[in-house]
């Protein structure tokens, strides 16, 4: 039986990827952020999961406004790196896990989560930056990845509560898979940031801290934050934090926080990282 052993929440700020790709992570601007990633990389290397499910949003790269899937799962065996408007990031292509991905697609749909299925898609910084944050710069990513996209570009994204329930359904599905796999799940995006309008640059440390605390202590209450509250308190793009609830829903109710890192700023964004472990399976 497959099992979800841990969850990782991480911002996916594109500038973090650019800093790694250009080798500027030791500059005074970036060093404090990247220093905090070290322990997470060590933890993940030691955990050595068999596969990762990465919950993220595409940013007008794999998908345009032509078709806007609310929840989508990638079932391909390989996902090329997208050209986001300035050439693809120089990182390895992402290798998929079609057997588990198809099992998830089938199980989730029959469990009343109406997933869109993608046989061919590129992946953008939303997926690759969290991999870079937690894996560094390997020649190949250390595990296969199942991309799970959530629309947060066209209002409205799915609610936090719906995302949490999707996480619970992902867990049920993983535990019905007939291979012994140790799975990690990433929830990405956030934390507080606003990239647009006269209010661009909004950051809310108090909101973010309460969010990080609530993720362990009371995730169900946290999942009920409304879209307007995210946008008002954490900036219009802070609404990406709904994706963290998918990760949290897939873990034990009493999952343990084992690491957190929070830094302002990464470009326009408050960057957060949190690792949660399922007690019985680490």
């Amino acid at each position: 039986m497959a099992k979800i052993v841990a969850g990782i929440a991480s911002s996916h700020v594109p500038a973090i990827g650019v800093a790694m790709d250009r080798g500027t992570t030791d500059t005074p601007y970036w060093q404090p952020l990247f220093k905090g990633y070290g322990p997470a990389r060590e933890w993940l290397a030691k955990l050595a999961p068999d596969v990762a499910i990465v919950v993220y949003n595409d940013h007008a790269n794999a998908f345009s406004l032509e078709i806007i899937p609310t929840f989508l799962i990638g079932v391909a065996d390989k996902f090329p790196i997208a050209d986001e408007g300035f050439g693809p990031r120089p990182v390895p292509a992402v290798v998929g896990h079609p057997a588990l991905a198809w099992h998830l697609a089938e199980s989730l749909i029959l469990d009343e989560f109406d997933m869109t299925i993608a046989n061919a898609m590129t992946v953008d910084h939303g997926l690759t930056v969290p991999l870079s944050v937690t894996c560094g710069k390997p020649a190949a990513w250390p595990f296969p990845v199942i991309p799970l996209c959530v629309n947060v570009v066209q209002y409205p994204p799915p609610t936090g509560a719906r995302c949490y329930k999707l996480g619970q359904a992902i867990r049920r599905a993983v535990e019905k898979f007939d291979q012994d796999l140790r799975v990690v799940i990433y929830g990405t995006g956030g934390m507080s940031h606003q990239l647009q309008g006269e209010r661009a640059g909004l950051i809310n440390r108090q909101f973010d801290t309460a969010f990080l605390d609530g993720l362990t202590k009371d995730p169900v209450a946290l999942s009920k934050i409304s879209h307007t509250e995210y946008m008002r308190e954490a900036g219009s793009e802070g609404i990406e934090m709904v994706m963290w609830h998918v990760m949290r829903g897939a873990l034990d109710d009493n999952a343990t926080e084992i690491y957190r890192h929070y830094h302002i700023p990464a470009s326009n964004t408050a960057a957060g990282l949190m690792i949660l472990e399922n007690g019985s399976s680490a």
């Binding site: 309008g197 006269e198 640059g201 008002r232």
Partner: protein, 135 residues
């Protein structure tokens, strides 16, 4: 008609919702085309003629050609799309964020280093009204 939206009371924020989606589609799909190197090259060679094929309104064309970043949002631009024009110009998200908020690049960068724009005083269009009377 879509439902009334309580987020309209947030100042300086252009939520890409149904109303903006209805007017913004051609503008954003032009931006999407810039994901291809060949199209970026053609756009840079002759911006005005490149824009001809996308069914843009005159005001959408103007905001693109003049790099009126706030103006683009007002005519249906979505920041994840319009940023692709900025990438073509060699600009970053932070450069454009500074321009949209009307401050110099260094001033904006300093604000971010100092912890960003505070939510205090920036939650409602009219912070002076009692909560129940705000938009």
């Amino acid at each position: 008609m879509t439902l009334p939206h309580d987020y309209e009371s947030i100042p300086g924020t252009y939520v890409y919702d149904a109303a903006r989606g209805r007017i913004g589609y051609p503008l954003n799909m032009f931006c999407m085309s810039l994901n291809k190197e060949e199209n970026r090259r053609r756009f840079k060679q002759n911006e005005a003629s490149y824009l001809d094929g996308f069914g843009l309104t005159a005001e959408q064309r103007r905001t693109i050609l003049e790099r009126d970043w706030l103006g683009m949002l007002r005519v249906g631009g979505n920041i994840y799309y319009t940023i692709k024009i900025a990438f073509c110009d060699g600009l970053t998200f932070q450069d454009v964020a500074g321009m949209m908020s009307g401050v110099a690049k260094d001033t904006y960068a300093q604000m971010m280093l100092a912890g960003g724009r505070s939510a205090e005083g920036n939650r409602y269009k009219d912070e002076k009204l009692p909560e129940q009377d705000r938009g």
